[in-house]
């Protein structure tokens, strides 16, 4: 199973360094064997041959909102490796530029994953591992496979709280703008 997990990452790997990075990041975790390996996901539109038709219309919830429920993954991890991929380099302040260069220079020594600490929002969201959206009217939970961590996105209209003590994953509130779910996070 360890091998299968690697294969998941490696299928999208494009260079030796990334390959090593993927293996190292994978190696610090204790991956779970795929349970229910041949269990067909219910509620999926399928072709006669049983394959899922991913181009079918997106589903709606009972109250007419887009339904994001399901297991999702980032098909490639280029944004996980570099969030600014394909754009101009971000306008880093001097201290941030120095820290960034230091991290590049020492091959990312000090990465929180060294100490099993998990990711933040941007790298969880761009990581090429699985996550499930569990959508309820008042709250959308995101279950990340990485580190078995979760986030809650509150949909009940509450405002973001004042930041008292910073946390790893922050506080998130969401709202619908047409068919787009907009999530704001602080703290």
């Amino acid at each position: 199973m360890q091998a299968l997990k690697y294969a998941r990452s490696l299928a999208y790997a494009s260079g030796a360094r990334l390959l090593m990075g993927a293996m190292l990041l994978g190696a610090t975790l204790a991956p779970v064997s795929a349970q229910w390996l041949h269990y067909p996901t219910p509620g999926i539109p399928r072709l006669p041959n049983g394959k899922a038709t991913l181009a079918a219309p997106a589903p709606k919830t009972a109250d007419g909102k887009p339904d994001l429920s399901g297991i999702w993954r980032q098909p490639e991890d280029k944004y996980f490796r570099d969030l600014s991929y394909g754009t101009q380099p971000p306008a880093m302040l001097p201290w941030a530029a120095k820290l960034f260069q230091d991290r590049k220079g020492n091959l990312e020594k000090g990465h929180p994953s060294e100490r099993c600490l998990g990711h933040g929002v941007t790298d969880y969201d761009t990581l090429a591992t699985l996550r499930r959206f569990v959508q309820t009217p008042g709250m959308i939970a995101i279950l990340y496979e990485g580190y078995t961590h979760y986030r809650q996105v509150f949909m009940d209209g509450r405002p973001l709280p004042p930041v008292t003590q910073p946390s790893y994953l922050g506080n998130s509130v969401g709202k619908w703008e047409g068919d787009t779910l907009v999530v704001q996070t602080n703290g």
Binding site: M1, Q35, V134, Y150
Partner: protein
């Protein structure tokens, strides 16, 4: 002494984690029946889902610490096989040395469920998710009729499927590793462990959660406890990510 020990242990077990203070301090939980003075009416009838099932959604917490201290609090000595009894006595004699939490490793189902830290039940027709505050971990309970996996790869939280028997939610879990302890007291289990959780919500503010441990390689017959849970209103989970795996092993144990 027993009380003092419990207080010290409680403080210590929480200490390797870094909780953030309650965000949304003055939160007003929606959908809760309230009395004229605005206080929640916890003895109001339990809610139902749109499809008429009991709705267990909400923020819950064990109101009895004794079951995480010792899952056999009410039953006396569990029917331990000799090796399990010897393991338990060794843990007791060493004041709990070697517990997984020393290394920021998580709890198992029985001690997460009975820990006096909040957890949220998120109920959907096909999947019930439990978000535990402790260690920021979650479990999934599949409600779509699938069977438990045969010969599963052992995991910390196992594999869970649930069904309704009348108004009771019955959750069966298997596929555990043997790393977790059933409680803080050190009752062990093997990979043969099966846990049955029976959730009943007699009124709005309370769940009665029966935990049954069935592990024929550690105990000669099933045993367990019934843990009372209370609904937390106007409250919220806070982040709890373990970031100190160095100290606990030195503070407790001998």
């Amino acid at each position: 002494m027993k009380i003092l020990e419990a207080v010290v242990m409680g403080g210590i077990l929480l200490s390797p984690c870094a909780p953030a203070p309650a965000q949304w301090m003055n939160l007003h939980t929606q959908g809760v029946p309230r009395k004229a003075d605005g206080k929640p009416n916890l003895s109001a009838p339990a809610p139902k889902t749109a499809d008429g099932k009991p709705d267990f959604s909400g923020l819950w917490q064990s109101t009895e610490r004794k079951y995480v201290d010792n899952l056999a609090s009410d039953t006396g000595q569990p029917p331990s096989l000799p090796w399990a009894d010897a393991f338990y006595k060794k843990i007791k004699a060493s004041n709990g040395a070697g517990r997984p939490q020393e290394r920021c490793l998580p709890h198992g189902v029985t001690d997460y469920d009975s820990l006096p830290m909040p957890w949220r039940i998120v109920q959907t027709p096909s999947n019930i998710v439990i978000l535990y505050e402790a260690y920021n971990h979650y479990r999934q309970i599949f409600m779509d009729g699938r069977a438990l996996p045969k010969d599963p790869q052992p995991t910390w939280m196992g594999y869970s499927v649930g069904k309704f028997e009348g108004d009771t939610l019955v959750v069966e879990s298997n596929g555990f590793n043997d790393e977790t302890w059933l409680d803080d007291d050190g009752h062990p289990h093997t990979e043969a462990l099966r846990v049955t959780e029976r959730f009943r919500r007699p009124d709005f503010g309370h769940i009665s959660l029966q935990l049954i441990v069935d592990d024929p390689k550690a105990y000669s017959k099933p045993w367990g406890a019934t843990v009372p849970l209370g609904l937390l209103v106007d409250d919220e989970l806070i982040e709890n990510i373990c970031e100190n795996e160095k100290d606990l092993g030195h503070i407790i144990g001998k």
